[in-house]
Amino acid sequence: MRREVRFSGFGGQGIILSAVILGRAAVMYDHKFAVQTQVYGPEARGGASMSAVIIDDEEILYPKVADPDIYVIMSQEGFEKYGASARPDAVMILDSTLVHSRPGCMFYEIPATAEAKTTLGRDIVANIVMLGALVGYTHVVSEEALKKAILDSVPKGTEALNTKAMELGIALAGGKKQP
């Protein structure tokens, strides 16, 4: 089944990296197909950045995401630009530390930035917390695949921190009902 995930936030949060990690998890470790795309351009540096991933059991033909099933939103501007128009049956995971609006679709609030800062001491890993929550709620890739893809992608010496961030995200999602 084709699933389309859109990530948005502001430049510097690791939005693009999150999407690359998700796509990598699907392809390299879940042995599925994935396509990752992103918005390039000056607005992606500091403004609202966006990246999308399509995951499918079959080969992916049309590579662009038009109407995502799943949103991961990490900034208010990102919500307004890339999240506000989510269709009613979509699912949104939002960083409630930074996003004040709420969508018309089903959504989950994850205080990722605050949790990353207080629990892990580093808000830089908020995006990994969100990835953990994404997988906790949607199982769009397996936890094992996500973990391996994260370890492939993060700087040397930060593996433990990022693993904790992912586990924190999964835990934050764990108490809640599966969509």
Binding site: V20, G23, V27, A34, V35, G41, L61, Y62, P63
Partner: protein
């Protein structure tokens, strides 16, 4: 053992070049092709190759041509504005029959245009952009896999035909990441052998002269002037000039069927899409989404020389539909060859046609 990777298209192109034995990259950074240069800068020195960032694209392609004469497989990568600057020496490479590979990750033009958005607006420029008559080979990838496979192939074609070969990619394919199966090795054919003692520009099989690599004592003079078989300038001899230019074109055009690389879907369809590059993906989606309809598809990888003979494979054709990220550049080329009407479906702005848009065009004629 093949291996699976999750690579960006531009990285796959660079890796394809490395697998093909590319030893020299001369380039200048330009969005959306820069990742190719960056990857080559990281990888080539470790493999005994040379990466050099030149002062501009005029110099980039010049350095590539210089390197090629030493026998090295050599390439550059660029996008629209840089491609325009390269035209001068692309003509030189065509005239001097210098094997070289140019990757163009196309973005929206004219001028600076849309640096981060996709287009296919340079398809005619790659064929005709330098002054004078000549011919080249151009391949268009539609996946990250093909960024790898077709880049590797361009080196073989450049060597075999002694001609500039273009990988005409686009921002969508260059920048997206997807699954790729990396082969153990790629096919590696060489340049036509030079027989010492023969005139260096005397054509051999396929109208192609043997390659007299520099540094072997052949003493070859290479000039962009009209030259005789010895390579000597001969710029005011009308017959000689005509014969030389005719040969430069014929050596490519006479190989059109051999160079052709395309897939045919539903050859008995009445309405047939023809696409290359990223729009291929949209057409594939349309066909996938409508299994009950007989939608024809000619999916072209070798765009130049255009495989006109493929059109005849659709015996029931009533119309060809040509979606392109330009105002109908290849549609016009197809129109020149087709016996049925052409519907050009241009799209400007940097985004792909949606499957719904293309299906609507097909449906309107059903």
């Amino acid at each position: 053992m093949t291996r699976t990777e999750f690579w960006q298209g531009n990285i796959a192109s660079a890796e394809g070049a490395l697998a093909a034995g590319c030893r020299f990259f001369g380039g200048y950074p330009i969005t959306p092709s820069t990742e190719i240069a960056e990857h080559m800068a990281a990888k080539l020195p470790k493999r005994g190759g040379v990466f050099i960032q030149m002062e501009d694209e005029l110099a980039s392609i010049a350095s590539v041509i210089g390197a090629s004469w030493t026998g090295a497989r050599a390439m550059t990568a660029t996008s629209g504005p840089g491609f325009s600057l390269m035209m001068e020496n692309i003509g030189y490479a065509a005239m001097t029959e210098t094997p070289c590979v140019i990757v163009n990750v196309q973005r929206g033009g004219p001028s600076t245009g849309q640096p981060t958005m996709a287009a296919q607006g340079d398809m005619m420029q790659c064929r005709f952009g330098s002054h004078g008559d000549y011919a080249i080979i151009a391949l268009c990838p539609a996946s990250v896999q093909e960024m790898y496979d077709l880049t590797a192939k361009t080196f073989n074609l450049a060597d075999q035909y002694r001609v500039p070969v273009f990988l005409m990619a686009d921002e969508v394919i260059g920048h997206m990441r997807e699954r790729i199966i990396v082969p153990d090795a790629v096919e590696h054919t060489g340049r036509p052998a030079f027989l010492p003692g023969t005139p260096p520009f005397k054509p051999g099989a396929g109208l192609i002269p043997g390659f007299p690599e520099f540094g072997k004592g052949y003493g070859t003079h290479v000039t962009g002037l009209t030259h005789d078989e010895r390579g000597y300038p001969c710029a005011t001899n009308p017959g000689l000039h005509a014969a030389l230019v005719k040969r430069l074109v014929d050596k490519i055009e006479s190989a059109t069927q051999k160079l052709a690389d395309f897939d045919v879907v539903n050859p008995d369809a009445e309405q047939i899409f023809i696409a290359y590059g990223a729009p291929v993906r949209t057409v594939q989606q349309v066909i996938h989404d409508h299994p009950d309809r007989k939608i024809g598809f000619l999916r072209v990888r070798t765009v130049w020389p255009f495989p006109a003979h493929a059109l005849a494979l659709f015996r029931c054709a009533r119309r060809f539909i040509v979606p392109e990220l330009n105002l109908g550049q290849i549609a016009r080329e197809i129109e020149r060859h087709a016996k049925v009407p052409i519907t050009s479906v241009p799209k400007l702005g940097g985004e792909l046609h949606t499957p719904a848009e293309l299906f609507a065009v097909w449906e309107a004629g059903a």
